[in-house]
Symmetry: C2
Amino acid sequence: MNVDKAMEKLKEEGYKYTDKRMDMLQLFKDESRYLAAKDVLEALKDKYKGLSFDTIYRNLSLFSDLGILETTELAGEKKFRFTCSTDHHHHHLICLECGKTRHIEKCPMDVSPVSAEGFAVTGHKFEVYGYCNECQES
Amino acid sequence: MNVDKAMEKLKEEGYKYTDKRMDMLQLFKDESRYLAAKDVLEALKDKYKGLSFDTIYRNLSLFSDLGILETTELAGEKKFRFTCSTDHHHHHLICLECGKTRHIEKCPMDVSPVSAEGFAVTGHKFEVYGYCNECQES
DNA sequence: AATTTTATAAGAATGATTCCGATTTAATAT
DNA sequence: ATATTAAATCGGAATCATTCTTATAAAATT
């Protein structure tokens, strides 16, 4: 997934092109890590004075619905990142400080699937937490 | 972990015995599933008119600090359950409807540990979601 | 350029959680 | 048993993330 593909997808689905959407996507592309709504606002508020949380949240949610962004919930906040270009299902190692990630290739559900009698499994979450190189120093 | 052991632990640590704490613990024992603060309030409000969220949250947090309750975050809410009596590290299959759980014995970090150059791993989360027998019917 | 539809701003509303000051209660000392 | 002290609780205000509402603005279409 990249910015152009994402904008194309928006168009296909009948959504409008706006500079704010473009810039939000570019931000996620540049940062390639998990960001919270307030991070996005912080990054764009200089360019767009009066930019509202509503706009941020509405677009984050839209992008997420269209598969442009991946989402997780961490420390009581929803966090978003550009969907990884690798197509196959995978998980992340996540820096608790800055949100930077590394891929985890092996999915535990492939390695040893979890199931239980009478229990209908619908999903799973596997995340490993820690601190990346840079964040360990501060 | 059980109610008596938990009350003992409270005593050891210099916390006071109160009926509300006792009843909260008994509730978790009886239910043996993940409950949110509001579930606890709901269950106890008849017996204790005017029971406040502050009391619930303060005690949930205390119990959690003392290792009496396990905690997870699900659908934007903190959820708590009595710490499983099995001592060893394990994970859960969780019913998204009622919070009931099953054990997952194999920890993915044992089966195939995740690590990365320069990344200091501090923790992980593995949860499998679905619907239990009873909740599938409704 | 006019019309239609979607996007946005600004702020109010919501829901979960935490904080605060005053009061009550459990444990301890008398 | 009573007085003292420290912790627990109440009730409501404050906070934080998120969603909703209504009026306005901007993009796409005619």
